[in-house]
C-alpha cells in the first residue's frame, strides 16, 4: 500500500470511530463552552483588546491539549502492535497529525464563533484571522501530537505531557498571539507577511521532524 492510501484509510478510520460515539469532539466542545462561559461570568465584558486576544488563545491552547490527550490513548496499546506489522510509522504520524489538526480547526472556528457571540468580535481583518487559525491549529497540533507520542512512551502521565509541551509550544504560541494582535490592530500590520512566513516555516519544521523522528519512538 502506498503512503497516501494508508493515510487516507487511517484518517477515515479515526473519523468513523469519532462519528460512532462523538466522545472526544463532544468533550472538547463542552470544555470550550464551559471555559468561555466561565470567562463570561468572570469578565462580563472585555474592554481591552489584549485581554480578548490572550484569553482566546489560552482557551484554544487548552482545547488543543484536551484534544490530543485522547489521541494516543483512546486505542488500546495492544492495537499498536497490530499497526506495527501492517503500516509504516510515517503514515501513522501523518494521519494523526492531519486528523487532529482538522478536528482542532473545527473546534477553533466554533470557539471563535462562540467567543465573539459572548464578548463581541474585535477582529479587523477576518480572512487573515481565519488563515492564522488554519496554520495555527495545524502547528499547535503538530507539536502536541509529537509530544504526546513521546509522553505515551513514558506511561502517559498528564503532568509529564504538560512539562514536555510547554517549552516547545511557546515559540508557536508567541507567533500566533503576535499575528492575531496584528489582525486586531494592537500592533502595526506591516510585519504581517514576515510573521506569517515564520509561522508557515515553523509548521513545516514540525511536520518534517515528526516524520523523521516518529519511527524511532515507534519501535518497542
Amino acid at each position: 500500500m502506498g503512503l497516501l492510501s494508508e493515510i487516507k484509510i487511517l484518517i477515515l478510520k479515526d473519523f468513523k470511530l469519532e462519528i460512532r460515539n462523538l466522545y472526544s469532539l463532544n468533550s472538547i466542545l463542552l470544555y470550550v463552552f464551559s471555559s468561555v462561559f466561565v470567562s463570561y461570568l468572570a469578565f462580563e465584558k472585555i474592554i481591552q483588546p489584549q485581554t480578548w486576544n490572550a484569553l482566546f488563545w489560552i482557551i484554544l491552547l487548552f482545547a488543543a491539549v484536551n484534544a490530543i490527550s485522547t489521541s494516543f490513548t483512546s486505542e488500546g496499546s495492544k492495537k499498536f502492535y497490530y499497526y506495527f506489522y501492517i503500516l509504516s510509522p510515517r503514515s501513522i504520524i501523518l494521519s494523526k497529525l492531519l486528523y487532529n489538526s482538522l478536528m482542532l480547526l473545527v473546534v477553533a472556528v466554533l470557539t471563535f464563533v462562540l467567543y465573539s457571540m459572548v464578548f463581541g468580535s474585535i477582529i479587523n481583518n477576518l480572512p487573515l484571522f481565519l488563515l492564522i487559525l488554519l496554520f495555527g491549529s495545524f502547528g499547535l497540533l503538530g507539536i502536541l501530537t509529537m509530544v504526546s507520542a513521546i509522553a505515551s512512551r513514558a506511561g502517559n502521565n498528564f503532568a509529564l505531557m504538560s512539562i514536555l509541551s510547554f517549552p516547545v509550544i511557546l515559540p508557536m504560541l508567541i507567533v500566533l498571539i503576535r499575528l492575531s494582535s496584528m489582525t486586531i490592530g494592537i500592533i502595526d500590520i506591516t510585519d504581517f507577511v514576515k510573521m506569517m512566513l515564520a509561522l508557515v516555516v515553523l509548521d513545516f519544521i514540525v511536520v518534517a521532524m515528526a516524520v523523521v523522528l516518529f519511527p524511532f519512538l515507534w519501535k518497542e
Partner: protein
C-alpha cells in the same frame, strides 16, 4: 597534544579575557564599567548553545547507532549546558539589576533563556520517568532533537522579529555583536572562544568520567 591544544588555548584566551577585560577602556556610557560584564555574560550563552548543539549531535548519533555511549554523552552535555545556562542567568541578573534597575525584565531574550532551560529540565525529567534504559535513551533523544530545533527558532529568530527588546543591537543582525566599541571587540571575540572551549573541556571531562563509571558498573554486574 593533538587532542589537548584547545584546553591550553582556552586557558590562554580566558586569562587574556579576564585581565584585558578589566583593563581595556570602555566607552563612557550610562552603564559605566558594568559594560565589562559583556565579556563574561555573553560567553555563557555561546558556550551553552555550542554544548547543547553537541548534545543534539550525540542524540542523532544515538538514534542512528543505538550505542548507549552516545546516550551518556548526550545526557552529560545537557547537564553541562544547563550549568552554563544558570550561570548565564545569574550574570545577566546581576547586570540587569545595575543597568535596568530590576533583576528580571520582560524581554524576548530573557524569556527565551528561561524556556530553553525549562526544556532541558523537562528532558532530564523525561529520562528519569522511564525505567527501561534503552527506551529512556531513545525517547529522550527524540525529545532532545525536537526541542533543540524549536528552541533555535525561539532564541535565534523570534527576538529579531520583535521590536521591543532591551538587549542592544537586535535590530541590525546579531543581537550579541550589535554596536560594540572596536577596542572591546579585541577582548570580546577571544573571550567568547575561550568560554566555548572551556565548556567543551568540562563536557568532555564529565563524559569520560560517566563512561568510565558505566563501564565499571558493567564489569561489576558481570562478576
Amino acid at each position: 597534544m593533538k587532542r589537548n591544544w584547545y584546553k591550553i588555548l582556552a586557558v590562554i584566551l580566558l586569562l587574556y579575557a579576564i585581565i584585558a577585560g578589566f583593563l581595556v577602556d570602555v566607552p563612557e556610557t550610562n552603564i559605566q564599567d558594568s559594560m565589562r560584564n559583556v565579556f563574561f555574560h555573553v560567553g555563557m550563552w555561546f558556550a551553552m548553545l555550542v554544548i547543547c548543539f553537541y548534545a543534539m549531535i550525540y542524540s542523532i548519533k544515538y538514534l542512528s547507532s543505538q550505542d548507549i555511549i552516545y546516550d551518556i554523552k548526550a545526557r552529560e552535555s545537557v547537564n553541562v549546558g544547563i550549568f552554563f545556562g544558570i550561570v548565564g542567568i545569574i550574570t545577566g541578573m546581576a547586570w540587569a539589576k545595575f543597568t535596568w534597575g530590576v533583576l528580571w525584565a520582560n524581554d524576548p531574550h530573557l524569556n527565551g533563556a528561561v524556556v530553553s532551560l525549562m526544556a532541558y529540565f523537562a528532558y532530564l525529567v523525561l529520562r528519569s520517568s522511564i525505567p527501561d534504559t534503552d527506551k529512556a535513551a531513545r525517547t529522550s533523544a527524540v525529545y532532545n532533537i525536537f526541542a533543540f530545533v524549536l528552541l533555535l527558532v525561539f532564541i535565534g529568530v523570534l527576538p529579531r522579529l520583535s521590536e521591543n527588546t532591551l538587549h542592544p543591537g537586535s535590530k541590525d543582525g546579531n543581537p550579541a555583536f550589535g554596536d560594540m566599541d572596536a577596542k572591546m571587540r579585541y577582548v570580546f571575540y577571544p573571550a567568547l572562544l575561550g568560554w566555548i572551549m572551556l565548556g567543551v573541556w568540562i563536557m568532555n571531562l564529565r563524559i569520560r568520567y560517566k563512561v568510565l563509571q558505566s563501564k565499571i558498573s558493567e564489569d561489576y554486574d558481570r562478576d
